[in-house]
């Protein structure tokens, strides 16, 4: 075991920090903040291009598709720094890992470099009104018609669908097969005729949450597919194998610096806040119960960090995690909830004040977190389903 980053990695971290200090100006920050729910503005895209130029996006992706063939730990470092300023460079949730694993040569050559350059972003179309945690129950249909497929159905909570260039979606291609065995994945442009997007507003929309809030999303969508015709070449992986491709991709997407950071950033915020602030001369940092709680949270945050590094270490060794990714996906979101609720009891009534209010603490980030932190325990594999996976895949316990 070795808990240190190499000198080169420390240097890489410093370079990223210097880059941020120089390039992430207040106006960029303001734009990132404003545009969070509306796609990305011009300044952001310029910044992103500069980051890509440095080779910092998709570091662990293969060189031939625009990556760096680099280490997952390097990627973790860059991701950890840039996620703090609202730039996602790990390409988690991007569809990239699944495309690399299951895509045709053509798909890889088309999508991966564009994902890295930020020219393509996918909306993820998994969930349906009647299929959430039980995703394999999805009903959207794709029917073969010559060289094409015709897609009909509805997706729920297709976040970013209103500005994404493409959709990465699952549809049923064999209604007669057992439910996991009749699903395929399709990748196609959002502007394909027959696709309509309608907004769904979340409880974090008014006022919009400050950057870095968990969950922080003001808008998601429902997306309708009406006789949407896509070429057969837009299928990812083999026909009817979509469940396995999708599950593998989701699993890979579950780990990494941004996933862990989203749940532990408040720990850092509250420590620094109580050290520097007081309520009318009294700082909560002097209260023994507050100190105990803060230490408890901090220790849990270390567990989240180490579980993330464990998944990274496994990938770095060329291995595949069995239960470790799921464990990480239970620990970080549940910790995020515990810490958010703990903080609210430290701030008392101030914890309810949203941005814009008199007396709001840290621009309302703690208050927004109270509304949204639990959400990261539902999305991308709910903590209940993740615990099932730890028990079944990790511990060999039988299905009920």
């Amino acid at each position: 075991m070795d808990f240190a980053f190499t000198p080169e990695q420390e240097q890489l971290r410093q370079e990223v920090r210097d880059f941020i200090a120089e390039n992430v100006t207040d106006s960029v920050r303001a734009e990132v903040e404003d545009a969070m729910d509306e796609g990305h503005g011009e300044e952001y895209m310029k910044l992103r291009a500069k980051i890509a130029e440095r080779g910092w996006i998709g570091i662990s992706f293969p060189k031939e598709y625009g990556g760096q063939d680099g280490s997952r730990i390097d990627q973790y470092i860059v991701e950890e720094e840039l996620a703090r300023v609202g730039v996602n460079v790990g390409l988690s949730g991007s569809g990239g890992p699944a495309i690399l694993a299951a895509g045709t040569e053509e798909q890889k050559q088309y999508f991966i470099p564009r994902l890295i350059r930020g020219e393509v972003t996918f909306a993820l179309g998994f969930t349906e009104p009647q299929a959430g945690a039980d995703l394999a129950g999805l009903q959207t249909r794709a029917v073969r018609d010559g060289d094409d497929y015709i897609i009909n159905g509805q997706k729920m909570y297709t976040s970013s669908a209103h500005y994404a260039t493409h959709i990465y979606m699952m549809a049923r291609t064999d209604p007669d097969a057992p439910k996991h065995k009749g699903i395929s994945i399709f990748l196609f442009p959002m502007d394909t005729p027959g696709v309509t997007v309608r907004p769904l507003w979340t409880i974090q929309n008014d006022p919009p949450a400050p950057m870095g809030t968990t969950y922080g999303m003001g808008r998601t969508n429902e997306t309708f597919f009406e006789d949407v015709r896509v070429p057969a070449s837009s299928m990812l992986g083999e026909e009817n194998m979509g469940w396995y491709v999708g599950a593998m991709g989701l699993n890979l997407d579950r780990v990494g610096a941004s996933r862990y950071l989203i749940s532990v950033r408040r720990d850092e915020d509250i420590v620094n806040w109580v050290k520097e602030n007081e309520f009318d001369g009294h700082s909560p940092s002097e209260d023994p119960e507050v100190r105990d709680r803060i230490a408890e949270m901090w220790i849990e945050a270390q567990v989240c960090r180490l579980m993330t590094l464990r998944s990274m270490s496994i990938v770095e060794h060329g291995g595949n995690f069995t239960y470790e990714g799921s464990a990480e996906k239970v620990w970080a979101p549940e910790h995020g909830v515990r810490t958010t609720e703990g903080i609210s009891q430290i701030l008392g009534p101030y914890a309810q004040l949203l941005n814009g209010s008199i007396g709001a603490v840290e621009d309302g980030v703690f208050a927004h977190n109270l509304m949204g932190s639990f959400q990261s325990g539902i999305n991308h594999g709910s903590v209940q389903v993740m615990r099932d996976q730890v028990a079944r895949r990790g511990l060999g316990m039988p299905r009920g």
């Binding site: 075991m1 070795d2 808990f3 240190a4 980053f5 190499t6 990695q9 730990i73 950890e80 532990v264 720990d267 850092e268 420590v271 620094n272 109580v274 050290k275 940092s285 023994p288 100190r291 105990d292 803060i294 230490a295 408890e296 901090w298 220790i299 849990e300 945050a301 270390q302 567990v303 960090r305 180490l306 579980m307 590094l309 464990r310 990274m312 270490s313 496994i314 770095e316 060794h317 239960y323 464990a327 239970v330 620990w331 209940q384 615990r387 099932d388 730890v390 028990a391 079944r392 990790g394 511990l395 060999g396 316990m397 039988p398 299905r399 009920g400």
Partner: protein, 393 residues
């Protein structure tokens, strides 16, 4: 950055596991609960011969000169098999003698420790059980070329079996806090020492030790008179980190026993392992042990690098205290009534892990230490970056 074990680390752990699996049955642990000495000398000697007792002690004293991490991996297995040997108390003392003792003190103890011919222990706690300097009231009064010790130590591990004991005293009359603390290497057979075994739920060998005008020579002092606190603190930190390895080792085994049991136990016509509520407890148990283990490894690794590690040690112990207890308690619950029965072995782990959560610092104490590091020093904290200096007990 690689939090996984290397091949050599894995090999060491496996060989310790194989040996202990064969040599230490739960019956042995049970038997030693009723034994006067509390450990089987022959097994202790065998473990010394295999090099495990001298694992982290220098080669010139017959040790292997390997890292604390290696010793920790062995102790994880010792915890897993609840091996009734005085390894923890001996190591806690021996590593301190090695780090801070004089050449004569090392010569006098370490070769015998490595060969399995000397058991050691250490005595810190008194009536006030908190692991902080204020709790030390025991007096060491200068007298000619030696010192006279007076006071009562509590919870001294394996004192009955130890030849020597590191004793933490206050050598400056009326001194406060960390000032005036001295450390002595005392023969347990010295005139004026008496001890009585405590009756503990783990049925282990802890004693109350009374020192009445016990004379020790100046050469028994470790470190400088009145300024041994940093030595004592380092001793407690090493002991704490090593105890965490035993706790996670034992808790993991305990969790595995619950998982196995649930797969075979039928209720409502199906294995209880197939109930989601049972599965989720088991998933939690494994994640708790994993978390404690990762925190412990980071602490040991930092010590081996010579980096400050007091915060990491306290992180590990605070977490292990709560979560390892939760593991063994959950395992009892999954076993239903049978785990509560004396004839069933599960309680051997339950009672030991429970006892270990109470040794070398409570959850509150360790969190208080983390809180001091987080809140009482200037500067912004950032996850993933270490934060020193003010983190003292």
């Amino acid at each position: 950055m690689d939090v996984l074990l290397t091949d050599e680390e894995e090999m060491l752990k496996n060989s310790a596991r194989e040996f202990l699996e064969a040599e230490c049955s739960p019956e042995l642990a049970r038997e030693m609960e009723r034994d006067d000495l509390g450990y089987p000398p022959q097994l202790w000697k065998q473990m010394a011969t295999l090099g495990w007792v001298g694992m982290a002690l220098p080669e010139r004293y017959g040790g292997q000169g390997l890292s604390l991490t290696y010793l920790g991996l062995v102790m994880e297995e010792v915890g897993r098999h609840i091996v009734p040997v005085p390894l923890h108390s001996t190591m806690t003392a021996a590593l301190t003698i090695n780090a801070d003792g004089t050449d004569e003190q090392r010569q006098e103890t370490l070769p015998k420790v490595c060969s399995g011919d000397m058991v050691l222990t250490w005595a810190f706690s008194e009536a006030d059980p908190r692991y902080r300097a204020e709790s030390v009231k025991m007096e060491a009064r200068r007298d000619g070329d030696g010192y006279i010790l007076n006071g009562t130590k509590m919870f001294v591990d394996n004192f009955n079996a130890s030849e020597k004991c590191l004793v933490v005293c206050r050598s400056t009359h009326g001194s406060q806090g960390t000032d005036g603390i001295s450390l002595f290497l005392v023969d347990t057979s010295s005139p004026g020492i008496s001890h009585e075994l405590l009756t503990t739920l783990a049925k282990d060998k802890q004693s109350q030790v009374v020192f009445e005008n016990v004379r020790v020579p100046s050469s028994a002092m470790i470190g400088e008179e009145g300024s041994a606190w940093p030595i004592v603190e380092a001793m407690l930190d090493r002991g704490t980190a090593l105890l965490c390895t035993q706790m996670t080792g034992a808790a993991r085994k305990d969790a595995e026993m619950a998982i196995d049991y649930s797969k075979n136990r039928l209720a409502f016509g199906r294995p209880v392992a197939s109930f989601q509520s049972i599965q989720h407890i088991c998933a939690d148990m494994i994640m708790w042990v994993d978390g404690g283990q990762l925190l412990t490894y980071e602490a040991l690794w930092r010590m081996d690098q010579g980096l400050p590690a007091s915060v990491e040690v306290s992180q590990a112990k605070a977490f292990c205290n709560e979560k390892c207890e939760a593991v063994v308690r959950s395992s009892q619950i999954i076993h239903g009534g049978i785990g509560f029965m004396m004839e069933f072995n599960l309680h051997l782990w339950f009672r030991r892990v429970t006892a270990w959560t109470l040794r070398l610092g409570t959850t509150f104490e360790h969190r208080a230490r983390v809180a001091r590091a987080l809140l009482d020093q200037p500067g912004k904290m950032r996850l993933g970056r270490s934060m020193y200096q003010t983190a003292s007990r």
